[in-house]
Amino acid sequence: MSTTSTILPKDEAAAQGELNVQINGTWHRFAPGTRIADACNTVGAHVPCFCYHPKLAIAGSCRMCLVEQGMPPRLAPGQEPSYDAQGYQPLQWMPRAIIACANTVSENMGIRTTGNITAEARRGVLEFLLSNHPLDCPICDQAGECKLQEYSSDYGSGTSRFQEEKTKKGKNIDLGPRVNLDQERCVLCHRCVRFMRDIVGEEVLGAVGRGSNCAISCYPGLKLDSNYSLNTVDLCPVGALTSKDFRFKMRVWFLKSTPSIDVNCGTGSNISIWSREQEIYRLTPRQNDQVNSCWMPDSHRLNYKYINAEERILNPTVRTDIGAPQRESTWDACLKLSAEQLQKCEASKTAIIVSARMTNEELYLVRALAKQLGIKEIASVSRKGKSDGMLISADGNPNTTGEQMIIAEKATALEGICSGIKSGRITALLALGEDITAEAGLSADNIKNLDYLLTLAHSKNGTTELADVTLPGVTFAEKYGTMINVTGRIQRLNQAIEPIGNSRDDWSILRDLIILLGSEDEKLAALKSARDLVTIMADEFAAMAGLTWGSIGNDGKAIISTGVTIPLIEREQASK
């Protein structure tokens, strides 16, 4: 028995508000309330889980996360605890395994994730899960990212002893407009049920039947039609819930995932873009506890089809004379012509309409372009909508905060420019990244009043039909850049695919135009990527001081305080 006067590890840990836990023979410290599964995973002792998800309530139904647990022996009345040389009490290991997801760590606890008991427990659980599994991996969309596949190869037995007929359940069931269910593949982890009940707050899914006939189903008369329904597909550890949009499109092992952000609203949900060669196949949410937790709305997730659509503009087009038809041109000729034409336009009669859908780098170059041309009137189109109380922001533009930081001090009202066009005060317009016939409140007739219209767009729209010069830019998946979301967090867009056709990165189009217009800014001329612009902008804007592309990171950085919050994140943090 050690009775040293030095402080025991338990007291030392308690002073810091932590607990000592031994995992696979090594002592670690964790905050009280940490789940055993989380504790093991953070120190690299992997615990396999089907039903456990850090953002959902605990179900403890799959029994996959069984680990061995040991505690100090219970003392007889009056007995003094004994301590080893390091100051820990000896561990008495329990004869049976416990689940790691529903139990939390405690002082002087021991956990073993390896060894005969856990290996045998995992093998047994997998054998039962696989006894009725259809083994249709060749046609299952989850193959390649399926937990059951992974754990079977890691902990399974490899052969089946099951002689009986497998249970038949429903296959290819239509659960809702975007989700399909295969009940035979389901491992009944109830993740989807808990997500719909606790996060979305719509009780749509439940389990019916008993024993081996138990299956997930919608309640009678209900459909899984929430705008967050596709998150259940991400949550599903196996191929039971599959996305109708991604159904049989591509095997996941061919896809490359690029971290980026959603550009459909001001929240800027973190996403992964999944692409193969030059095509985008799906978008999935990427965890960021400050922005979107692990979720994203379906409407935003499915809004990627325009990237590989027919409507993309593949070549710069110009109209060489008034009334002449538009024809395709080359970049050199087109940019030279644009620069010549812009120089002829009178600065006081010229205006720029920019888009808050552009990245900070592009907006910065638009400002430089305006300065080069001496244009005073710049405005952007605002998109005010309604928040859904979850992740969709009331602001439909992804970079309003950035636009306000870069352009706003000089901006004029959009109405002023529109009325100027209608009255003939403004005769030349640069519509950059915005279809002015759609939300700016201008009709085709109004635009015909203009003597000169230059537009920068990635897809054909009302403005490109009327434009004298169309410069084909790229969509969010084809460029690098930063945007600042409604909460004032700067986040990065990464390039997943190369620009389609002869389109070019918007920033390089603007930069070349500025140089052709006679700018002698050496920094601009030397730029190789939009990523370098962050460093240049960091010198100019106080909010961005000290930022570089690398220091922003994949999770972004809060740089401005706007007072706006994201309802779902508020709720999540309040419930902690």
């Binding site: 259809p134 991996c137 060749p138 046609i139 193959a143 007929e165 497998k166 296959k171 290819n172 159904r247 049989f248 499109k249 591509m250 095997r251 092992w253 061919f254």
Partner: protein
């Protein structure tokens, strides 16, 4: 265990200096040289060989009946005895193909068709015969016994477009194969 370690043989000094092996090899070469020069090569009559050595007048005379069972010719797609398209477009052959000759476009089976249980079948399946190296990995990797190496070795094309074989051509070449596992019936 997914692999078995191979036991390497122990080589003696005589083995390691190669001289014996080289001498043996040269003996074999000289034996055939003598046989060829004296016009006594094996299978000379079978091949209808003229002049010295062994020479088969191709294409009048073909090698076909001598092809071993395991010969790897052009890959083809097969149908089962129930005339079901066996391929479920799992794209493993596309993944494994070292020459990237295979391109699969997955598609959905019509729910009204008798093969609806299979759910998935290729919308398009092309093999670029200019790229194919006849390695047979596609046949080996196929979990559905759908792609087989045929004995076709004479791929002489008059048109480059014909080198890229589409699904229809591949099924025609593969035909129906008997005795395969029927995985997608209603009892399974």
């Amino acid at each position: 265990m997914s692999y078995t370690p191979i036991k390497r043989p122990k080589f003696s000094l005589a083995d390691r200096i190669y001289i014996v092996a080289i001498a043996k090899g040269l003996c074999r070469t000289f034996k055939h040289l003598v046989l060829a020069l004296t016009r006594r090569s094996r299978h000379r009559e079978d091949f209808n060989s003229k002049g010295i050595g062994l020479c088969m007048p191709f294409p009048e005379q073909r090698w076909d009946e001598r092809l071993p069972e395991y010969y790897r010719g052009a890959p083809t797609l097969v149908r089962g005895e129930d005339s079901r398209e066996r391929c479920v477009s799992c794209q493993l052959c596309e993944f494994i193909c070292p020459a990237r000759a295979i391109t699969v476009t997955p598609g959905e089976v019509d729910p009204a068709s008798p093969c609806a249980k299979q759910e998935k079948a290729p919308k398009e399946f092309t093999i670029d015969m200019f790229r194919c190296i006849y390695c047979g990995m596609c046949e080996e990797v196929c979990p559905e016994q759908a792609i087989f190496m045929s004995q076709e070795y004479l791929i002489t094309l008059t048109d480059r477009d014909k080198g890229i074989r589409d699904k229809e051509t591949l099924y025609k070449l593969g035909g129906v194969r008997k005795g395969l596992v029927n995985k997608w019936n209603d009892h399974k």
